[in-house]
């Protein structure tokens, strides 16, 4: 029984559950709300927020996991979102460490920048794996909008991911 609760309470389980719930809203609600004809990327938001909440490494793993789940519902090359979201989580965590004690606005900035960077990298990575035609000027607008939206919702996302990935303030799981 103890072991069961340990599994239930583990960051991995929490992250998977959050991932499935967020993914379900990504494919329904956020698929409908398309400001400026851009789909808001809440899975990417969670990936970047993981990096800010629990550090680069945890962010990379959580981002990879969220991207992997996202790949399950996409027709794009399998593993591409995992790679890019993992990068976003890692980058958000890395940018956040530039500040000694990052303020709220810096966290928003980290998530916004890393999300925009991930959106820009995605079509470039697609090109590498042989999917042509995604690298267009429209990508810049999409990256800007996604970055802005993710920055706006950064703080609740960080709070959620901290609950999922960090057991206490001093103890970070999945760290070295």
């Amino acid at each position: 029984m103890k072991r069961f609760f340990a599994i239930i309470e583990s960051p991995f389980t929490r992250a998977v559950l959050i991932g499935i719930i967020v993914l379900s809203f990504q494919t329904t609600l956020f698929n409908t709300l398309r400001p400026f004809s851009v789909v808001m990327q809440v899975m990417l938001l969670c990936s970047a927020a993981s990096g800010v909440a629990a550090g680069s490494e945890s962010g990379a793993i959580a981002g990879f996991m969220f991207g992997f789940m996202y790949d399950m519902v996409l027709t794009s090359p399998f593993g591409l979102s995992a790679l890019v979201f993992g990068f976003a989580g890692y980058m958000a965590g890395g940018v956040n460490t530039f500040a000694y004690s990052p303020r709220w606005w810096f966290k928003m900035l980290s998530i916004g920048i890393s999300s925009a960077a991930a959106v820009l990298i995605y079509p470039a990575a697609s090109l590498v794996v042989g999917v042509d035609g995604l690298l267009q000027t429209r990508v810049i607008g999409v990256a800007f909008t996604v970055g802005l939206f993710n920055a706006a919702f950064a703080l609740p996302a960080v709070f959620l991911m901290r609950w999922a990935l960090v057991k206490s303030k001093k103890q970070m799981l999945w760290a070295e």
Partner: protein
């Protein structure tokens, strides 16, 4: 400074991604199986999320799209009135063409079974243009099958699970299809007056069918157990095509046509030549283009508005003569590259609801 663990983590994640991409590229079926299994777990959660979030989606749509929707609705009503008559006349033409093809032993779209499916989801990505349908393998749908709607070509099936399938739209950059395009219509067509005759005999359950085959008129009588009203058009058919024998065709009534209907018949001597090219999607908000069309004296001048249909053939993704759209712009290019044609798709891909999946799997998509 990177620690060993951090480096190792990055390398492991990178290698895992490469492994996944390789597995996906090898078409081993493992990835499809994993996706199917995930779908079984995920669908109920998604349905629940859909129910919960629908009011919010409706509010969003109501606030932002209401006025546009109202304008569009009025415009569509006008369009519908105009199209009703034309559609019936077109149906008659299509039936006539199918009869001709059948007489000559040529394949027609009418001989291909289809499944009607509803669009239940859209791709949540900003890059891929796909839709999800509520029918899958259990309805006979397979990868590669062509998807159409009432207007024309929509796309092709790229993924199938037991009860769901994914459609890649014709505007997706990965979509390519061989199509036929004709030159500009030449103005020398003749307008023929078509007299209409209606014969009805239903009192004793028998129907008299008057058939006019030029140059002589023949009347035949058949017995039917149902009460039927048959409208027969007497067509003045003149042709110079060798080996072509005019035959009687029963056409549906033209709306409001109590007297003489005007139809425009192209002269047989001006049947337009067609060239085959490759249509490729260009991504969101961009029209597909046709490449590899070579201008020639036989083809003549290319211009806007000419219809584009699928080319067909054993290696093609779709059967022949499926309506794709019309040429909206001709871009002349220098050298041997030939002109580039932008295509306005006949189907409105922004508002798809019900679509038809042709149960025609191209040879190139059948797993070996």
């Amino acid at each position: 400074m990177y620690s060993f663990t951090r480096r190792r983590l990055i390398v492991v994640l990178l290698l895992t991604s490469v492994l996944l991409l390789t597995l996906d590229g090898s078409k081993s079926g493992l990835v499809g199986g994993v996706k199917d299994a995930f779908g079984v777990v995920f669908r109920p959660v998604e349905r629940f999320a859909n129910v919960v979030s629908r009011p919010l989606s409706n509010v969003w749509r109501g606030v932002l799209d209401y006025s546009d929707m109202r304008k569009e609705n009025l415009a569509l009503k006008d369009l519908l009135v105009k199209q009703e008559g034309a559609a019936i006349a077109a149906t008659a033409s299509v039936r006539e063409a199918q009869e001709l093809l059948a007489l000559n032993g040529l394949p027609t779209l009418a001989g291909i079974d289809s499944v009607t499916a509803q669009v239940v989801g859209q791709s949540p990505s900003n890059f891929t243009q796909t839709f999800e349908l509520n029918r899958g393998k259990s309805s006979g749908i397979r990868v590669g099958m062509t998807v159409t709607n009432g207007a024309g070509l929509v796309g092709k099936i790229t993924g199938v699970t037991l009860e769901r399938s994914v459609v890649m739209l014709a505007t997706d950059p990965e979509y390519a299809m061989s199509v036929k395009v004709g030159a500009c219509t030449r103005p020398n067509t003749t307008t023929t007056a078509v007299p209409q005759t209606t014969t009805t005999l239903v009192s004793d359950g028998s129907t008299s069918l008057a058939t006019n085959v030029l140059p002589t008129t023949t009347t035949t009588s058949t017995t039917s157990t149902t009460s039927t009203t048959t409208t027969v058009l007497q067509r003045a058919t003149t042709t110079t095509i060798k080996g072509f024998t005019p035959f009687a065709t029963t056409l549906p009534p033209v709306p409001g046509g109590g007297g003489v209907t005007q139809i425009t018949v192209p002269e047989t001597g001006v049947l337009l030549p067609r060239e085959t090219g490759a249509m490729e999607g260009q991504g969101i908000d961009r029209l597909p283009v046709i490449r590899f069309i070579q201008t020639s004296t036989r083809l003549g001048e290319l211009c806007e508005g000419v219809p584009v249909v699928t080319a067909g053939g054993s290696q093609s993704l779709a059967p022949a003569d499926l309506v794709v759209g019309t040429v909206s712009r001709v871009v002349t290019r220098t050298g041997t590259s030939g002109p580039l044609l932008e295509v306005e798709l006949a189907a409105n891909l922004q508002s798809l609801n019900f679509v038809r999946v042709l149960l025609y799997q191209p040879a190139t998509e059948i797993p070996q």
